[in-house]
Symmetry: C2
Subunit: 324 residues, 2 copies
Amino acid sequence: MNDELAIGVDIGGTKVAAGLVDAEGVILHRTRRDTPDRSSSPRVVEDTITDAVNELLAWADGEGREVEAVGIGAAGFVGADRGTVVFAPHLSWRDEPLRDSLGGRIGRPITVDNDANAAAWAESRFGAARDESHVVMITLGTGIGGALIIENELRRGQFGIAGEFGHMQVVPDGIRCECGNRGCWEQYASGNALVREARGLMTARSPVAQDLLARVHGDPSRLAGPLVTEAAREGDPTARELLAEIGHWLGVGIAGLAAAFDPGIFVIGGGVSAAGELLIEPARESYRRRLPGRGYRPEARIVEAALGPDAGLIGAADLARGGT
Amino acid sequence: MNDELAIGVDIGGTKVAAGLVDAEGVILHRTRRDTPDRSSSPRVVEDTITDAVNELLAWADGEGREVEAVGIGAAGFVGADRGTVVFAPHLSWRDEPLRDSLGGRIGRPITVDNDANAAAWAESRFGAARDESHVVMITLGTGIGGALIIENELRRGQFGIAGEFGHMQVVPDGIRCECGNRGCWEQYASGNALVREARGLMTARSPVAQDLLARVHGDPSRLAGPLVTEAAREGDPTARELLAEIGHWLGVGIAGLAAAFDPGIFVIGGGVSAAGELLIEPARESYRRRLPGRGYRPEARIVEAALGPDAGLIGAADLARGGT
């Protein structure tokens, strides 16, 4: 067995999480930094990554362990070369040659991948989709990210940017999306959608929003997704309805993806997936109602991700070892 | 070079087309039969196929040519074993073990595939998508069929039924589809949609439908898709608008598929694609307007299929030779 370690780095909108990961996907040591804000130069982000990686290298060295490679997962379009971040909205990056820029400073082989690809890889190697060869990963955060594993390999597309499910149109002339279009799936089935709908009820002073309003002391702007999930868990019917509505739209999109890809499993990850069955059962129901050929075909399962917020860094590390 | 031939058989809703195909995708000899109607037993359909294949085998024999394999493309769900037709709406088949049933009668190795898979394979080997590794094929007939080639291989999904793009929902609570759902893509961007919309205008006695009405001597029920295309080619503005509307919806769906798969090329085949640029240019426009990340990413091309109605049988034959 390979007892060398790999470092995984997950660059999110608010934090950079990094960890030392073994060949079984176990995190032996971890660290984190705040993500530099949007206006920072790429150099500042690179400094942050290098700093976190160096801390982990020093720790491994102290334990007498070798680190063979560094994998980075970033929210954004990563080029088919797996070294360049073509476009990262949260970092204001464009055509940033991240692998080359970091290469000289870290002294280990580096691979760069989309964060959802990294999470999907982790779930398929060590998590909810073990033993599955055809996997669709859907990460529900502020938006919707995604990734495809077909015949046991990540499929990144011709230009490296497959899996942008969040911007498939589900409602003609629907809600405006920051991508510039209208009616994108992520306007209906993401954390942002959940918060928007909850705030709408609160702002309208709907009596059904009283429980939620009390939780934010009457200030809708203080509402965040996890609070809705908490209220739903504690039995607030409005919070449950809001999650069920997100779940409904999740199922609509999943039915379409099932028609197109025919996977064996859908893995639902990202922050919103913490709502578990309160989200996923309504998704299953709406999916089953829409699946083409239902009754004449086997049906893919829809399950919650198993690795939680660690999936990105575990997957990035494993991909750096040579996963594909 | 391999100078053996393969037989390709394309089982469509109205006809069974079969041909002797060489290793370059050239059809040396062909024949056809009417498709037995829906109420016929599977045995009758098998007789029809066997009869056509035997005619071609006799011809090859007369020319002193060997036939190494027989490939069959059928409209319907084909199982991952590539031998069983799980569900074929036009033939009333369910779990029909076509390969085994035919095997004893034909005496050649047989493979069965979905007709859109066969067409996609032909276009990628010999047609519009040569030199492309990531191909989405969309066949516009009465409905919408499709197929995926990712990294040079057909990807059929976990259960063998990927590519059913026509039943992705594009309009919530939209037009009822024969699959049992509402708002399926093929209700907006297929030959059936074209005819339905044209007939709607005619039945409403809209003055803009006069040219079309004249072509069917006042009887909307006699209208078929090719007639709309003919009128559009001859300059009828209403027919052009109808095709542009189909093209618009085609582009909407293509943008979603581009977000999900990130292919290098979309190939538009099937009967409706005979409208060429009258259909495809509006599709490109609507696609470009919706493509997520436009301006920050390379864009897939959208082109008309090159092999026309022969794509299915050419592809089925080539797949029987061992294409994947």
